[in-house]
């Protein structure tokens, strides 16, 4: 059973007075992550929305020891911390339960500039949870395309729409043979909470990617963040799954879409509600563009259905 949102702990690690936009999905997700991790954790950041919104020296809104190095370093800096903790404990300079080391990084810092160091940390199976809050663009610098931007999406560097589909980053992480990979999104807080609690108790490298619909980048109304997140899951644009030791299990409601019990909703409404897509759907090629977006989603569902059958 998924934990109900009503049963989540009252403790808060994201304090009031942070600098995030209203309706910020990354901050919502971080609140839930904080409830699952508790206070004994160390946070690794890279320059991103979360560094901009964590507050400014000397006042900070995150209730953990945290470190921000540079954009490409999320994987390697978390490795530095986790190795330091292990040796300091071994040499008797640290007592008590070791904190959870986690990276909190956007899709740019994960899919693109941070990919190399993340891949190496995963290959070493360093003990950390790497969170990617995926808002499908470089939102902090004013919305430019990333490897996570879906086909057909407007960004300031794809003014006529991105031509290529996004990477399947969570699957790429799974192929590193790490002990735990999961996807989540803010419309399903209990699902996210449970996955973080599970990851916290697994040694080695854990990767959790959270779809984070950003009203600024996606161009929808600020109060609709959660609604957009739910629509993405219901139409299969975002699949909820987790994999312990390489075996993929889909979570509700994605599991019903994969098994065929429930049909994925058509992508039209989702697309038309977002300015990043619909501003490019005013010409005669609108139908073809929507069909391409739908085609990418259909392909992803079909591919993941087959991929999950590989259990060796």
């Amino acid at each position: 059973m998924t934990t109900s949102i009503k049963k989540l702990p009252d403790t808060e690690q994201v304090l009031s007075g942070n600098g995030a936009c209203g309706g910020c999905p990354a901050t919502m997700a971080l609140r839930i992550v904080g409830k699952a991790l508790g206070s004994n954790a160390i946070m690794l950041l890279t320059p991103s929305c979360s560094v901009a919104s964590m507050g400014m020296t000397p006042k900070l809104a995150y209730n953990w020891p945290c470190i921000n190095i540079t954009f490409a370093t999320a994987g390697s800096s978390a490795s530095g911390i986790t190795h330091a903790l292990e040796i300091m404990k071994e040499k008797g300079r640290l007592q008590g339960e070791l904190p959870t080391v986690f990276s909190w990084v956007g899709d740019g810092g994960t899919y693109d500039i941070g990919f190399q160091a993340l891949s190496a940390a995963a290959e070493r199976n360093d003990n950390m949870i790497f969170f990617c809050y995926n808002n499908e663009a470089y939102s902090n610098t004013g919305v430019q395309r990333s490897g996570a931007t879906p086909r057909g999406s407007f960004t300031t560097t794809t003014p006529t729409g991105k031509r290529q589909p996004k990477k399947n980053m969570a699957l790429l992480m799974l192929e590193h043979n790490i002990p735990y990979v999961a996807t989540a999104t803010v419309a399903y807080p209990g699902d996210l909470y449970d996955k973080v609690v599970k990851a916290k108790n697994i040694p080695g490298m854990k990767y959790i990617e959270i779809l984070a619909p950003c009203y600024l980048g996606w161009q929808f109304d600020m109060p609709e963040t959660v609604q957009m997140s739910r629509m993405a899951v219901r139409n299969g644009a975002w699949l909820l799954w987790e994999a312990e030791n390489g075996k993929i299990d889909f979570n509700n409601p994605s599991s019903q879409i994969i098994s065929g019990k429930k049909k994925a909703e058509p992508v039209n409404e989702y697309v038309m509600k977002q300015g990043r897509f619909n501003r490019l759907l005013k010409g005669s090629d609108a139908e073809q563009r929507i069909a391409e977006i739908q085609g990418d989603i259909d392909h992803q569902i079909a591919f993941m259905r087959e991929r999950a059958k590989i259990t060796i």
Partner: protein, 396 residues
């Protein structure tokens, strides 16, 4: 203890004696042997160090920064493009006041690609906020690495330290070397107990959050003050080191400078060649002398001005090309340091030895010949020139 070691092995041995907490390890010629030797120490249980085999120098420095911020002692080694790939992180390490120790085995920067010694790599990082100490030979490479932590970790300094030696010439050549006993080294280095670190339970820390304009400049000023304070600390540590080793070090070495009228200023292994030339000239009655700059950051400007005040003509020799169109970095800073002298000696800049081009005793003698002419005629000729350039016909 008398031994025969290459410069790389000497530095790796110093690391072993220190027994650091974390090492970021990535290969690049000519520093590769340092992580190789160290991997052996880890495998044999001779050190108790987390040996993190990263995928790039960018990551080795990130690992060091994060580990040091967590309260651990971190070391790494690199050369050339590896140091260049660390560029943004060097600034983070210094501004977060993390006393990481990095062995830089100097090598030319690409391009064109070249694996031999010059100082273009570390000179490119001269304004990153790291202390830079250069070695002439294997003994100095070993000694400098041992002195790095007591310098960098002291509360008035708290800056990262880069110890540099010339690739291949020093890193791969095997020389006689005196090693200290490990217990003596450990006592000299001491335990690492930083005042602030991420995991300090009673006062947890945020490292590297956004620094707004009302604070940023104060932080930069504090960094600049720390670099100034490092000068006194470097001399203090050298004095302590002399007690355990019998070897004496300053900010620079003055060789036959007492009554010198003609002087060279240079860095690194070329000093050995230059000393031979100075000896030869002294035998011929020429008042020649040499200053070997050991500490380039903090730059010993006032001290150099005093040491060079009595000379008539000076050649500053840069083993890197700064592309300033006005001379190399050592020249720019040395000439600036001498500006306030009442009687300024003539000064020229000679860029030499790029990409490992050899410098012989005769080459240095020619420089002194030129200085002798300048001292007599007052005509410097071209102030900024390159040593031993072949003509277009020769290189065709």
């Amino acid at each position: 203890m008398n031994h025969r070691l290459s410069g790389n092995e000497a530095v790796a041995y110093a690391m072993k004696q220190i027994n650091p907490d974390v090492m970021g390890a990535f290969p690049i010629t000519p520093s590769t042997e340092i992580p190789e030797y160290f991997a052996g120490y880890v495998a044999d249980g001779e050190v108790n160090t987390e040996y993190v085999t990263v995928e790039s120098e960018h990551s080795s420095m990130s690992v060091c920064i994060a580990a040091q911020a967590a309260g651990a002692r971190a070391v790494s080694a690199t050369s050339s493009c590896g140091l260049a790939l660390m560029y943004e992180l060097l600034y983070v390490a210094a501004s977060c006041r993390l006393p990481i120790t990095l062995a830089c085995v100097n090598r030319a920067l690409s391009g064109p690609i070249n694996i031999n010694a010059d100082h273009s790599d570390s000179m490119g990082a001269r304004d990153s906020g790291w202390i830079q100490i250069y070695a002439e030979n294997n003994q100095e490479a070993y000694d400098n690495f041992l002195m790095a932590m007591p310098i960098g970790e002291t509360p008035s300094v708290r800056l990262p330290v880069m110890t540099c030696m010339d690739g291949f010439i020093t890193s791969h050549a095997v020389e006689n070397i005196e090693l200290l006993e490990t217990d003596v080294v450990r006592k000299f280095i001491g335990e690492y107990h930083p005042e602030h670190y991420l995991l300090k339970k009673e006062n947890p820390l945020a490292v590297g959050p956004y620094d707004v304009s009302p604070y940023y400049m104060e932080h930069k000023m504090l960094q600049a003050e720390a670099m100034k304070a490092a000068k006194a600390r470097i001399l203090e540590v050298a004095a302590e080191f002399e007690k355990i080793s019998g070897r004496s070090y300053g900010l620079f070495e003055e060789y036959r400078m007492e009554d010198a009228e003609l002087a060279l200023v240079l860095i690194g292994s070329t000093a050995g060649t230059a000393k031979a030339a100075v000896d030869k000239l002294r035998d011929d009655g020429v008042k020649a002398g040499l200053i070997k700059v050991r500490v380039f950051r903090p730059f010993p400007g006032e001290e150099l001005a005093r040491a060079l005040a009595g000379t008539k003509a000076i050649a500053v020799m840069d083993k890197s090309e700064g592309f300033s169109a006005a001379g190399g970095p050592l020249f720019a800073e040395t000439r600036s340091a001498l500006y306030d002298l009442n009687q300024r000696p003539y000064m020229v800049n000679i860029v030499y030895g790029l990409g490992g081009r050899d410098v012989k005793v005769e080459d240095i003698e020619k420089v002194f010949d030129r200085l002798a002419d300048i001292a007599v005629t007052g005509e410097t000729g071209p102030v900024y020139s390159h040593m031993g350039q072949r003509s277009k016909e020769e290189t065709a």
